[in-house]
């Protein structure tokens, strides 16, 4: 009996210890604080969306019933849809529903959840494709450029990345279409539905390239600048060189490794802008993602659909920032959160 009790006590002590270790971990504390501060931001975004949507003419019922519907029928449908309620009541109703995982119904009568379930994966695939390729390319290219600053490779890379930084994605998309779809006919002008890896590359390569070129430019410039800076002023680089470590190894193992932290942060912070770019590119190539859906939703005054998609966009932005912070806290032991200068 006493033994059982002792084991029980030990177990409890162990659990307490583990709990303390967990809550004591700086990364976890940062995560907790960040998650908490994300909540008011998300609520603010939904409120802002709702306020902005009230700028749109409140004509959903009319749009559903058609122009010839009698005013009484319109009023009745307005009542069923809850559109005659005051602003606060509608907002509260919507917020409670969203917290229960119900985003409402689109004008066409389908559920927004269903709409999102179909279209979000396509957008995610597109963005991931663009992101992975541009990050991978920029690491290689930036290392090439930083190996000899102001050399020929460096100058070419800087020029190309400056172009990438300054090219509007929609203009670049047309250039891609003219060259690869119209002249070379390698890829279709309009992307079809994605099914299987073959059609994935066939349909999403051009849109991903249109999104990825700008990203590639940003990441490359950033990595290159950071690596060149380290190679010139950090002591561990001098030490490594003095030890006789070959130049390539110094660049990749010492400089690049540290620069990757900066890259991770920027990738996280950029996610928000990325979904915006996706909206335009998806419209051009007719990719069936949420960006395309959003533009259609806006021209149809489909308020529930726009709200759902805006919330998804905001979620991506907020969690991108969160992940960037977390990655930084976990990877870089120098970061001590709690000091108030950031």
């Amino acid at each position: 009996m006493a033994l059982v009790q002792q084991i029980q006590l030990q177990r409890e002590a162990g659990a307490r210890d583990r709990a303390r270790r967990l809550t004591g971990s700086p990364a976890l504390r940062v995560a907790g604080r960040r998650l908490l501060s994300a909540i008011p931001v998300l609520i603010g975004v939904t409120f802002l969306t709702f306020s902005v949507m009230s700028l749109l003419p409140n004509d959903s019922a009319q749009a559903i019933l058609g122009l010839n519907a009698s005013p009484s029928a319109v009023a009745a449908l307005n009542h069923t849809l809850g559109l005659d309620q005051p602003f606060w009541q509608r907002y509260w109703h919507w917020l409670v529903n969203v917290l229960h995982g119900n985003f409402g119904t689109t004008l066409e009568g389908g559920s927004v959840n269903h709409e999102l379930a179909i279209h979000v994966p396509t957008t995610l695939e597109l963005l991931l494709y663009a992101l992975v390729v541009s990050v991978a390319l920029s690491v290689v290219v930036a290392a090439l450029a930083a190996r000899r600053p102001n050399g020929i490779a460096d100058r070419i890379i800087l020029t190309v990345s400056m172009l990438g930084l300054s090219t509007a994605p929609y203009a670049f998309a047309f250039l891609l279409i003219i060259v690869f779809s119209v002249k070379l006919t390698w890829f279709p002008v309009l992307s079809g539905a994605v099914a299987g890896p073959g059609s994935f590359f066939k349909n999403l390569t051009l849109p991903a390239a249109a999104i990825g070129f700008g990203l590639f430019a940003i990441y490359t410039r950033l990595l290159r600048a950071d690596m060149v800076d380290q190679m010139q002023r950090e002591d561990y680089i001098v030490t490594a060189k003095a030890k006789g470590v070959p130049p390539w190894r110094v660049l990749l193992r010492h400089a690049l490794r540290n620069s990757l932290f900066t890259l991770i942060t920027v990738v996280g912070l950029n996610l928000g802008g990325l979904v915006g770019a996706a909206a335009i590119i998806e419209t051009i190539f007719q990719v069936q993602g949420i960006g395309n859906d959003l533009i259609t939703g806006i021209s149809n005054h489909d308020v529930p659909l726009i709200e759902g998609i805006t919330l998804v966009f905001a979620l991506v932005t907020v969690f991108g920032n969160l992940l960037a912070d977390l990655a930084y806290a976990v990877l870089d032991p120098r970061i001590r959160y709690g000091s108030s200068n950031s």
Binding site: S37, V45, T49, L55, L165, A168, Y170, G272, I280
Partner: protein, 291 residues
């Protein structure tokens, strides 16, 4: 924000020629993009006052689809016979007007908020930072499109819609810069000698964060130019028969396989403008030692 400039190389190790070429290179990096921008502004705002350009909104259908460098039409005409060069000039006016006013609004409102948040700290900082976070997380494109759809497309609506996205970005930059400056010893000295907050902000904070804000604004103008084009491009910005660079690209889209220059000409104008802005920003950043 104000990093110490790299230590100058020892005089005995560098020759005068190399120093001179470095100096010329630095001057070129500043004045070439500045010259391009002044040239573009001149073409867009001064040229139509000096020379009579063909109408940018009406054209004679008889003279449609003319190739570039045809007589009377420097860059040719589009399907409706409208002169493309005139469209480019008047579209450029709109682009510059919109992007400059958006950035100005962003700097004034966002800058004030950012400086106030960082200088006063505490609750002011918490509230302002959260508001800026919300605006940053809100997709700017959605806002601009909904405003255009709900209030009707106009230049003024477009400016305010885009400003909502410029304000938090500028606010963040101003806040970060002020935080850095606030910890420096001349600020403590100013506070210890009893200088009033208003005077500290105007005399000590603003002059020191201005370089960072100016260089960021130049990059910001470039971003606004691109986003403004995107909104026109989606059909929610400047409406026909007025032309903007973005709407010219859209119109060209319908006939791109026939004559790619309809898309290429406004795109090239857009790229040149943004490259010049970015390069000018980089050059100023280098000169002022802003990070």
């Amino acid at each position: 924000m104000l990093a110490t400039p790299a230590p100058p190389p020892l005089p005995s190790l560098v020759d005068a020629r190399r120093l001179r070429s470095q100096r010329i290179g630095r001057a070129l990096r500043l004045w070439v993009p500045a010259g391009i921008l002044i040239g573009l502004l001149g073409i867009c705002f001064v040229l139509p006052l000096v020379v009579t350009l063909p109408s940018s909104t009406n054209g004679n259908i008889i003279y449609n689809n003319e190739a570039p460098f045809s007589p009377g039409h420097l860059l040719g005409t589009n399907v409706q016979g409208v002169d493309i060069f005139s469209q480019l000039v008047y579209g450029g006016q709109l682009t510059f007007e919109i992007s400059l006013s958006v950035t100005l609004i962003g700097v004034v409102i966002g800058g004030t908020l950012g400086v106030a948040a960082a200088y006063f700290g505490g609750w002011a900082d918490a509230v302002i930072s959260r508001v800026l976070d919300i605006l940053l997380a809100f997709p700017a494109l959605v806002l601009a499109l909904v405003i255009a759809e709900g209030l009707g497309p106009s230049e003024l609506h477009l400016i305010w819609a885009l400003a909502v996205f410029a304000i938090p970005a500028q606010g963040r930059v101003a806040r970060g810069a002020t935080l850095t400056v606030r910890g420096l010893s001349y600020m403590t000295a100013a506070r210890l000698s009893g200088t009033r907050p208003w005077r500290i902000i105007t005399r000590h904070v603003l002059p020191n964060i201005l370089p960072g804000i100016v260089t960021f604004s130049l990059l910001g103008i470039g971003i606004v130019v691109i986003i403004e084009g995107a909104i026109d491009f989606l059909g929610y910005g400047i409406q026909l028969p007025q032309a903007s660079w973005g709407s010219m690209i859209t119109q060209g889209q319908n006939i791109e396989s026939v004559q790619p220059e309809y898309v290429l000409i406004p795109s090239i104008a857009l790229v040149i403008t943004v490259v010049a802005l970015n390069m000018l920003g980089d050059a100023l950043r280098e000169r002022w030692g802003v990070q």
